[in-house]
Amino acid sequence: MTEFTATEMMTIAAARALGNDDVCFVGIGAPSAACNVARLTHAPDITLIYESGTIGTAPDVLPLSIGDGELCETAVTTVAVPEMFRYWLQGGRISIGFLGAAQLDRFGNINTTVIGDYHHPKVRLPGGGGAPEIATSCGEIYITLKQAKRSMVEKIDFFTSYGHGNGHDDRQKLGITTKGPTLLITDLAIWKPDPVTKEFTVVSMHKGVTRAMVQETCGWTVKFADDVAETPEPTELELTTLRDLQARTAAAHGGTKEKANA
């Protein structure tokens, strides 16, 4: 088996979670690499939507921004941004929304707005972009994140987007009818919400990862499922597809690094 990095494993695990019938909203900071690997392997008819208005896009290289020209050139159709948010996202037509996080808590609540107080921030982050409504309008939410204590925290500084609140049926109590975060894929493990408490629980660890490694890079006390599986390693096809995609991307963007998956 070829060697692979933790980031590659994370991307490929996310790709596997996507199906042929999914309609994915690939927002800023989201793993467009995962979506495109899925499209180029087991889910050729998956629908990828970028919030720039491109619907059913099939780029040959990963976009540097969500509005790169190739997204439009390869799309089934390109609509205005207000229509994207009104008819397609708010209209409930997206099955999977991807979100990244600067801070994430155990219930899938996300902060990408500020570190510290909102009005006098220690660090001003870019903000939510589409996230507040992606989090509540998509059928379910997949989160990808590299584990670190500063990003997986006990308490986030700002609710940029809502996950499961304090768990249990907090989400339904707010009148939200979508499922919210159903999957967290990190560079170390795959997490799913506990059916009752909604706390993210480790259900699978990537090859060579220990429980201690997961806990050391997480700011809350990690809950493990009764049976923690080992994530199947990337196949040759998956790895080759991802690496070719990234090589084409690097070549197309003038040797610059693809950051959409950062």
Binding site: G67, V81, P126, E133, G175, G254
Partner: protein, 283 residues
């Protein structure tokens, strides 16, 4: 009715100190040349309105033109943070700015409501999010039929909107194509509209009837600025200059370097430099 003007005259006649202004473009077709002209003219105390402020607002904020920014994502797309904007928020450099923060959905629908002549955008949003706690302009409305509480934000009604487009015809109708973003809504929501275009063509004969066109009577001024969206791109004309976006991360990280770059590339330059900048990027 639209006038064909130089960029300098188009900006001078339409943008005033204290205006609320939108320079819109969603990654594609960002009106960079127009923003640079505003910087050269030293327009003051602007309220800048934009979904993704991007590097043009980073430049305008860094040069002290803005007193307020209304936005939903303050990032350099695909690269990271907007460092001049951060410096203004965190350190009040070069001046303090007020921020009014929304989600993309709210911003897009607020433009839509502005174009539709409504005072308010009503949508399903912000559920469980903290922004309504820090932005008093986010309110709610109860649906009189279902009882559902919906979000409400004021419609955007900028004093002036600047956009960049592929082409105008001789009558001054303007064509926008590719990723069309919120430009039509931002233009129709504004009191005054200025458009920079790559070129003027005799007419739009043979174009598809359903393309996005702003009729000449919705536009106040058109200025021809080839390359005017660089380092953003113009579909069908030139590609996005990704290297420049990455480079901006370094330039904007340092106040001195920023000032020097602005002096050389904006203050002492003119709209004619844009054609040169896109030469190597033509499709």
């Amino acid at each position: 009715m639209t006038q064909f003007l130089s960029l300098s005259d188009a900006v001078r006649q339409n943008l005033k100190d204290g205006d609320t202004v939108a320079f819109e473009g969603f990654t594609h077709l960002i009106p960079v040349a127009a923003a640079h002209e505003a910087i050269r003219q030293g327009i003051k105390d602007l309220t800048l309105l934009r979904m993704t402020p991007d590097i043009v607002y980073d430049q305008m904020i860094g040069m002290g033109l803005a007193r307020k920014v209304i936005f939903s994502y303050a990032g350099n797309p695909g690269v990271g943070l907007l460092r001049r904007m951060r410096d203004a928020i965190e350190n009040e450099y070069p001046r303090a700015i007020e921020t009014v923060e929304h989600s993309h959905s709210a911003m897009a629908q607020a433009y839509e409501a502005g174009a539709a002549g409504l005072p308010v955008a009503v949508f399903r949003g912000y559920k469980g999010a903290d922004l309504p706690k820090v932005n008093p302009e986010i309110k709610s409305i109860t649906c009189p039929f279902t009882g559902e509480e919906l979000a409400a934000v004021p419609a955007h009604r900028p004093d002036v909107t600047f956009i960049h487009a592929q082409k105008a015809n001789r009558k001054g109708d303007v064509l926008i194509e590719g990723i069309i973003g919120v430009q039509k809504e931002a233009a129709l929501a504004a009191r005054r509209v200025v458009v920079t275009v790559e070129e003027i063509v005799p007419d739009f004969k043979g174009l598809h009837p359903n393309l996005t066109i702003l009729p000449n009577w919705t536009i106040d001024a058109i200025a021809v600025v080839p390359g005017g969206a660089h380092p953003s791109y113009t579909h069908g004309y030139y590609e996005r200059d990704n290297a420049t976006y990455l480079e901006w991360d370094k330039i904007s990280a340092d106040r001195e370097l920023f000032a020097q770059w602005m002096k050389e590339n904006v203050l002492e330059a003119g709209p004619e430099v844009f054609a040169e900048r896109v030469k190597g990027l033509r499709a």
